[in-house]
């Protein structure tokens, strides 16, 4: 991945920066220039909470080439408390521990390494919230 492409998304990937529509209140992650719910173009920045729950998940056994060394790994769709949904890996657990509605926390992790550009790419992954 080229550095401008990577750098642009850092606020979202590192800090979960989102935007809330000033007109209808919908929270957008990543931010958009126009709200898809009400067409407003006025937003305020919000930082997403790191707590959410699993809506669905899979275990990837046949990965893309740049994830060859990771497989098998878990991918889930997570809904955060603000209602924002995202796709991410779930780590530090076995697939047997997963369930729909299981609570998770978002953590900061290394996502992939691109040997050609030597950029180590970081972002969010989920871990199960343990009592």
């Amino acid at each position: 991945m080229k550095s401008p492409q990577y750098t642009r998304e850092i606020p979202q990937r590192y800090r979960l920066e989102a935007e809330k529509c000033r007109q209808c209140g919908k929270v957008h992650f990543p931010p958009r220039l126009i709200c898809d719910a009400c067409q407003s173009q006025e937003f305020e920045q919000v930082i997403l909470s790191r707590a959410g729950r699993i809506l669905t998940w899979t275990v990837i056994h046949v990965p893309p080439t740049n994830f060859d060394l990771e497989a098998p790994y878990i991918i889930a769709i997570v809904e955060l408390e603000e209602g924002v949904r995202l796709t991410c890996q779930v780590v530090d657990c076995d697939p047997e521990e997963l369930a729909v509605d299981a609570p998770v926390e978002m953590v900061f992790r290394r996502i992939q390494e691109d040997s050609q550009a030597d950029i180590i790419q970081y972002g969010y992954k989920a871990v199960l919230s343990r009592p």
Binding site: T58, V59, P63, T87, C88, Q112
Partner: protein, 384 residues
Amino acid sequence: MRDVYVIGIGMTHFGELWDTSFRDLFVEAALEAFGDANMDRLDSMYIGCMSGGLFVGQEHVGALLADYLGRVPIPTTRVETACASGGAAVRQAYLEVASGMSEVVLAGGVEKMTDSADVTAALATAADQEYEVYQGVTFPGLYALMARAHMHTYHTTREQLALVAVKNHHHGAMNSKTQFPFEITVEQVLASSMVADPLRLLDCSPVSDGAAAVILASEEVAKQAKGHPLVRVVASTQATGAMALHTRTDLTRLDTVEHSAQVAYQQAGITPDQVDVTEVHDCFTIAEICVMEALGYAEPGRAAALVEAGETRLGGSMPINTSGGLKSKGHPVGASGVAQVVELTIQLRREGGTRQVEGARIGLAQNMGGTGASSTVHILEGQA
């Protein structure tokens, strides 16, 4: 808008066609379509191709293919809506004839996927690169997320998913152009290697080379073309939805398919129960289940039971994917939407041989891109 007819159809064998080039695949399908139409006139072309760039390093495919078909200087444009590129090409050709701008337009679709490209990565470009693919998800993975949600919400079973593949292979075994023309069993599906839990290898459509072409024409021209019963395009629709799967309100539903189908039923003036034969985008077994529900063939959560009861098999009340579907026929992505129209035309002309749906008069083709962010629907009416 005026009436539009399918007057010629052609397609290559689908499969690993190492000896045939990208350009020759298309030319072979187009020449077959001209032979089938029994006429030579052509005013313009639209080519569905998802990723000539990533699969064979070739862009500007419209010009290349018009050149090698010996049809310069007619206008030729490539259209792209990921795996729905073929359906979008048919729609553009339909619009150009319907508008009165042209009399005869070819809609082609072509993809060459087995030239050692990184196919998983290339296909993944149909999802959100920054917010889905970046995290390591694959296309089988995205449909696996839908499958798990469907199984959780509606108690759809692993065996029911397998039955979709078994049924499509049963049909494909009767089609001489399929990549995998043989029967498979539920046990084989369940024993095949895991790709993205719960989807296994035999839940997935294959990586394929292939091309398909249909020639659309005005009524005046269609009536001059001799040799086949007329087939009219009575609806052509397209809908667009949220790009990332995770932003959909209901992960088990395909809103774009539902929308494109509803508008298509209105255009054609029919209800879903009047459709005699259907081709759907079964890129994965779960996709066929979700599409059936989006088309209104079953209430949400009820499609799998219809598959299990054999209703979607040849001889059932709503035969689906008589061609073998993407699963058995093969899925050269840009060609698939066009190949669906080829199959419907065969069925509506009553030229289907052993896989003919008896008395077929109305056919529906549904083609989608990504996890359904693009969907096209075509409804055809035969006059056989």
